[in-house]
Amino acid sequence: MYTQLRANLGLAAKTGDRGKRTPWRVSRNVVNLGLTSLFTDISAEMVNTILPLYLVFYLRTSLVQVGLVDGLYQGVTALVSLGAGTLADRRGRYKEVALAGYGISAVGKLGLLAVGAMFAPLAGVVVADRVGKGIRTAPRDTLISLSTPPERLGSAFGVHRALDTAGALLGPLVAFGLLRLLPGRFDAIFVVSFCFAAVGVAVLVLFVEGRRSEAAREGLQASWRQALALLRRPRLMVLVAGSAILALATISDAFIYLLLQRRTGFNPGFLPLLYVATATSYLVLAIPLGRLADRVGRGRIVVAGYLLLALAYVALLTSAGGAGLFVACLLVLGAYYAATDGVMAALTSAATPVENRTTGLALHGTAVGLAQLGGSVFFGLLWTVAGADFAITVFLALLLVGIAGLSAGLARTASR
């Protein structure tokens, strides 16, 4: 506790330096990490967007195999992050570990160009890309937390997530723009995607300060035993378990969009616009909700976010099919992301001692990732066996249980 306090105080003093602040009142380091994510996400979403087209048209694989690749994607991400997190804590080298993750994904874009038409190596490159994502997320969030005074964590993660989402919005636009200009030339998309990823890596290498925590500097290196001791931290465990239950109860966006389409019967050609609408709403709300979380309490905002998701489920169940409901559903979905994603990272950072922070964040990320995968399989199963309404009702019930559990747990483990 003592080291954590000192570490945070030390950094707070540093970030108090006016010259280093940005218009959003977060440290320059956070903005630079956000820019790294922005460029990396442009690159990643360019490829994600066109990968099904590439597999089907160029490699002539069937769509079911595409689904298989996607499944590999998610499982791998969750597992590598724990190992990388512990490594980053042991050495106090957050920037280097994050760089390895960003670097693998960037090089992977050139790999796509090299493996060309073979399915197995292509799947390998796709998995490597996800491994990169698994490695970088927790050390990057640790750097954000170490560059920010504790009372501004919500704002800092809000700024980072807003920049990250901007990249995710731009990526598909760039990809489809290139596809229009150069029909069928996937190689050009891979090259441009690599260039964006490389710019992201350059920002990280040149402008991000790899803060070693005070703990690491004093040789108080994290041991495996300390990492295990994280499991005895009540507040962190509340966050991990609560988030896992809530992730299990989260219906994936793809299902929600599909449900909305079926309920309202709009032209399925507009489905990509739903993604744009949700992401825009997330982008716009991430910073204000992050700042609000710092003021009124992060737990409250996270709980409110999940209540919004519950509201969206109710809307899906009672859908009258109106356009208003439709737009509201997308705004609510974006607000839910803005209220939960970055704010949850802020809560988790604050609940983990500085010397094990990356491991704690990775533990949270892994639990959420695996639960999401399970939830999506479970929802698909319920939908096919018992119908959409039954599936939504079960998920709504689970979501409410999760919200009650998280909010009770957070209240009980509140530091003050």
């Binding site: 689904g67 090259v191 793809a254 096919t384 066996v385």
Partner: protein, 336 residues
């Protein structure tokens, strides 16, 4: 300018040059690429082929894998292929009417006439997969895969449209009422694909997937209704005499997705596996009353990205034989 900023500007400049250079070079390549070799005196060549029993098919064009060229070849001399200026991802032709699905990589389609001239465009966003025209040339059916959004997703949804080729009016198969054993069923997870039209006006067969099961359905476009006939049948193709259906059956014990071609006799209900042991993911086309055609990826050796058409006797009297190389999406046309 600090050294870091200078380094960043240099890196960005280099990467920008790389990206712009590669894109520019690709644009030049695409613009200067030779257009698909239009056969000399094509008007005469095309007219000659169109006057005799022939195959309308797609020839992969190479430069853009999502765009293949509509081609024709006489059935008695398949090597005499004539290319047209039409390109898309999936095509079919019957009774003087053609449909081309996948106008661009993002979807859409157009119809074409008996002299293979482009007619009306229509919108249908998604990955083009199946196209059919009714034997009377009155209706076209087109199926695309619709994804939730840009990502690769486990959740796929199909959209099948029936277009009235005389009026251009379109109806989505999801608007049809479906009955199973006499009871109406209605689920939000309905997916339809692979329509095959019967020779009787308005009658068709298709695939319906719901609750993790696929069904063969028999439908009527006039009453907008359909009923389920059998389970585990995908991409049916009705024989010219309307008595048999060749379809692909999912092999359940292989883990991955592999299909075997089967034939169902609609008079007796008898079902038999055909003599093709490779997995076929296609809606077959009947060459005549006893043979079907389908596309398979070129297995070489060495395997390439090309597609070839194969011919198979439905009575098991002969092993599958290569019918036509560098061809997909077949439609057999026998002018009256």
């Amino acid at each position: 300018m600090s050294r870091r900023t200078a380094a960043f500007v240099a890196v960005c400049g280099g990467l920008g040059l790389l990206a712009a250079g590669y894109v520019g070079w690709s644009v030049v390549q695409v613009r200067t690429a030779a257009p698909p070799s239009f056969p000399a005196g094509n008007g005469a060549g095309l007219a000659r082929v169109l006057g005799v029993p022939h195959l309308v098919f797609l020839q992969p064009s190479g430069a853009d894998p999502s765009q293949s060229t509509v081609a024709v070849a006489p059935l008695d001399n398949l090597q005499d292929r004539q290319l047209t200026g039409l390109t898309c991802a999936r095509a079919y032709f019957a009774a003087g009417h053609g449909v081309c699905l996948g106008r661009t990589i993002e979807g859409g389609g157009f119809t074409f006439d008996a002299s293979l001239r482009r007619q009306r465009e229509f919108d249908q966003v998604g990955l083009s997969t199946r196209a059919r025209v009714s034997p009377d040339g009155h209706k076209a059916a087109t199926t695309v895969f619709v994804t939730g959004h840009g990502y690769a997703d486990l959740t796929f949804s199909t959209q099948t449209l029936i277009t009235d080729l005389r009026t251009g009016a379109q109806v989505d198969l999801e608007k049809f009422s479906v009955t199973r054993d006499g009871t109406r069923i209605q689920r939000s997870d309905f997916n339809f694909w692979g329509i095959t039209f019967a020779s009787q006006e308005n009658r068709f067969y298709a695939t319906l997937a719901t609750g993790g099961q696929t069904y063969l359905i028999a439908g009527d476009t006039a009453s907008r209704s359909a009923r389920t006939l059998r389970e585990n049948v995908e991409c049916p193709s009705l024989s010219p005499d309307g008595t048999r259906i060749v379809y692909k059956q999912l092999l359940t014990n292989t883990g991955g997705r592999r299909w075997r071609l089967h034939m169902l006799d609609l008079r007796t209900g008898a079902d038999s596996a055909l003599a093709e042991t490779r997995s076929v993911d296609d809606q077959v086309e009947w060459l005549d009353g006893g043979h079907v055609l389908y596309g398979l990826n070129d297995e070489g050796p060495p395997a390439t990205l090309d597609v070839n058409l194969w011919e198979l006797a439905v009575d098991g009297s002969a092993a599958p034989a290569r019918f036509l190389a560098h061809a997909a999406s077949p439609a057999v046309v026998r002018p009256a």
